[in-house]
Assembly symmetry: C2
Homo-oligomer: 228 residues x 2
């Protein structure tokens, strides 16, 4: 990980791109710029580790991050595949509790790191800000809810279908944010099963696949699959 040292103007620009900070005044943005760090991560670097202290709020600007657990069995289980712009570790920072999981980059990533202190400082002039952050936490709660909803009693093929619909809510072309075996892990499937589900969807004429690119050629058919 390298800490970049852009001037405040550039930093402010980065900060302005984060939805959470959009409502801040110019002065507050500057304050934030002066008290935050822009970090460039390589592939496979850890941003935070399970059980570590949550002193820093991370904001993902570019790249994909996996939030995962080491299971007692030695395997890993991916809980989230986080895409920008997103907060990372917000729950731990707000509550002051240790991270419940690991965060690791899946490619090069650009991140704003924000000290807990700085965040609380900002809260003084922006009392509604924690609520916004909490909104993010609530979304994560909902994502979990959906994961549980999906992984209980749904076939491999419908899990894949739901996933594609969720990452391509409007368009019909997506690039998978991670290698297929990691997606499989996230969906609670073995790579082989994921592969077979893909094949089955292709044979049904619902999607086409080229490497990591997925095209949904028949969206309504895809939606119909998860009815069954």
């Amino acid at each position: 990980m390298k800490t970049l040292k852009p001037n405040d103007e550039v930093k402010t620009k980065y900060i302005g791109k984060v939805p959470l900070f959009r409502s801040l005044s110019q002065k507050e943005k500057l304050f934030l710029a002066q008290n935050s760090f822009i970090q460039a991560y390589e592939k496979n670097e850890f941003i935070f580790r399970e059980m570590g202290e949550g002193n820093t709020l991370y904001i993902l600007l570019r790249g994909t991050v996996q939030i995962f657990l080491h299971l007692p069995s030695g395997n890993k289980k991916i809980l989230h595949l986080v895409q920008p712009p997103s907060l990372l570790a917000e729950g731990a920072v707000l509550t002051g509790k240790p991270f419940p999981a690991n965060g690791q980059t899946m490619g090069e990533c650009l991140i704003i790191a924000l000290n807990r202190q700085t965040l609380f400082e900002l809260t003084k002039s922006n009392p509604q800000m924690p609520w916004n952050i909490m909104g993010g936490m609530f979304s994560r709660l909902k994502e979990f809810k959906e994961t549980i909803e999906n992984q209980t009693r749904k076939s491999a093929i419908s899990r894949v279908a739901i996933y594609f619909l969720s990452i391509a809510p409007n368009c019909c072309q997506v690039v998978l944010p991670a290698p297929k075996k990691e997606i499989a892990n996230y969906l609670g499937l073995r790579p082989e099963s994921f592969s077979r589900a893909l094949r089955s969807l292709i044979e049904k004429g619902v999607i086409t696949v080229k490497d990591n690119g997925i095209s949904i050629s028949n969206r309504s058919a895809l939606e119909r699959i998860l009815q069954e």
Copy 2:
């Protein structure tokens, strides 16, 4: 549902029992008592419904509440089996978003209902209170995390073992908070599979079962089961 009308003193006593409110001053407790409702629910009553507006914070004092979803397939999926003392619907209230799930009593329940307005009023003199509530939300996030961790790639028998260990962390005797088929649902199992898992644990000499009462007779063996 009946709204009870105890005098303020009794109400204050109820309120004092809630960990979240323990740090409040006597005056604040009285304010809370005057602006909250004590509700008595019968079995199978809904406390809130999916998509409903989150205007009220509920605090479960007595009884068990199921938080569950209606799946598109028509089945239901239990996300939490909530035991007192616990907050209900705190995420929705804090963020002002609709409930993501249903809350229904599984037996007679006693609940404190707190207006969103009242809660925010209280926040003025107790700025750290939202953070405490958020702590509760964080716990729920962790419970989800564990559910996902458990339900992916763990056998029926170890799911049951984990569940027993979690509801009886210290003692060796517990009463199931709900009928077996509901526990099974929560664990992502069919009633038949749950029953078979129980039998298997009994035959291993790890537990004994009498109706809804479970005795853990060999805790370390139970812990060993979830290693495999």
